[in-house]
């Protein structure tokens, strides 16, 4: 089954921005002569060209899996009855069930949408107020700090060996090792709140 759709439609189905789809077109995503896209061809192209670590790639893989399930379901129907909804819908079972059953009234749907929009606005507002930083930034900063201390600890035997060789009592050796470990620990446990605030400020300044 083929279906021609707009770039905006594809973006919506993949849960990404239209700009992301336009970028894919510049990278070779096939476009029909009328400027529209073939849904199945587009999904297959993305599956073959986008990494699964990329959200757009993951979404395309998920949809392609849905296509395969829909195909399997269709081929397993031995009574010849056509599905009551197009095969494409079959990949999302609960939507199918929902469409057949009772679902939210317009007033309820409006209220739920308003809540979802409010949640999104809250997170966007918090970002502009420098109340959020990216997980990646935090991981990079903390990870670098941990790596520095690890390197320092691994170098400890070499760095302390001359001093330890000169010691005459266990207490002297204790003092040397204790000082080294303490300094390394201080470096790691020296939490600087301003680092996080700076990251949050940088995050607020990004689009």
């Amino acid at each position: 089954m083929t279906e021609s759709i707009t770039k905006a439609d594809l973006a919506r189905r993949l849960g990404v921005s239209k700009t992301a789809v336009t970028k894919l077109v510049t990278k070779g995503l096939p476009v029909l002569s009328d400027g529209r896209l073939d849904l199945v061809d587009s999904v297959n192209w993305i599956v073959n060209h986008a990494s699964t670590t990329d959200p757009i790639g993951r979404a395309a893989h998920a949809i392609a899996a849905g296509f395969r399930r829909a195909d399997d379901d269709a081929s397993n129907q031995d009574d010849g009855d056509a599905p009551t909804i197009p095969d494409l819908y079959a990949f999302s079972g609960f939507i199918n069930d929902l469409m057949r059953g009772r679902y939210a009234s317009q007033a309820e749907a409006d209220k739920i949408k308003a809540n979802a929009l409010a949640a999104l606005r809250v997170i966007e507002f918090m970002k502009t107020q420098a109340a959020l930083c990216t997980v990646k930034d935090v991981a990079v900063v903390v990870g670098a700090q941990v790596a520095r201390v690890r390197t320092r600890l691994l170098a400890m035997p070499v760095n302390t060996a001359p001093a330890l060789a000169r010691t005459k009592t266990p207490q002297e050796a204790y003092a040397i090792v204790d000082k080294e470990v303490r300094e390394a620990l201080e470096e790691l446990s020296c939490h600087r709140p301003e680092t996080i605030r700076k990251l949050a400020q940088q995050t607020a300044e990004t689009k």
């Binding site: 919506r12 998920a62 739920i112 979802a116 997170i123 966007e124 959020l132 991981a139 790596a147």
Partner: protein, 154 residues
């Protein structure tokens, strides 16, 4: 006894939940395009898109206070120092003893590093679990109250 989920499994779970949420949202969009469905399906599809946008942001952003807590808790300094002191205070400490001190300290550092990795993945997983739950409730009648409670968590 509590078993710790391997990081690879945690990552796979986060990937799976994200994929599931995106499929659900795509399902609403496709259903909304189905001829003859009411306007309510268009609203549900828009809601699904908003939930995905929210999850995308939540998965990668963290409140400053939470980042502060994470940084303050890495590593377990008391544990590391106690181990080092125990070895360093040993009157029979030799070069081998010093190696033990370093090994112990590095092991604690490695645990801290793993805790950091686990925290980042868990954060992403939580965002997509929440999105999946919310997406499953979009179209359910009488679900508005549940949604309000869900939004209140954020």
């Amino acid at each position: 006894m509590t078993s710790i989920i391997p990081i690879a499994d945690l990552t796979a779970a986060a990937d799976a939940m994200e994929a599931r949420a995106r499929v659900s949202a795509a399902g609403y969009a496709i259903a909304a395009d189905h001829p003859g469905v009411g306007e309510v399906w268009g609203i549900m599809a828009e809601t699904a898109a908003l939930i995905i946008q929210h999850a995308e942001k939540r998965a990668v952003l963290v409140p400053v206070e939470e980042a502060d807590r994470l940084m303050a808790s890495l590593p377990d300094a008391a544990e590391m120092e106690a181990g080092a002191r125990a070895h360093a205070g040993d009157p029979t400490m030799t070069d081998a003893g010093l190696t033990e001190v370093v090994d112990h300290a590095v092991a604690v550092i490695d645990v801290a590093q793993e805790r950091l990795t686990r925290w980042a993945i868990q954060h992403r997983l939580n965002a997509w679990i929440d999105a999946t739950e919310r997406l499953a409730l979009i179209g359910k009648p009488m679900a508005a109250g549940t949604h309000e409670r869900s939004e209140a968590r954020h």
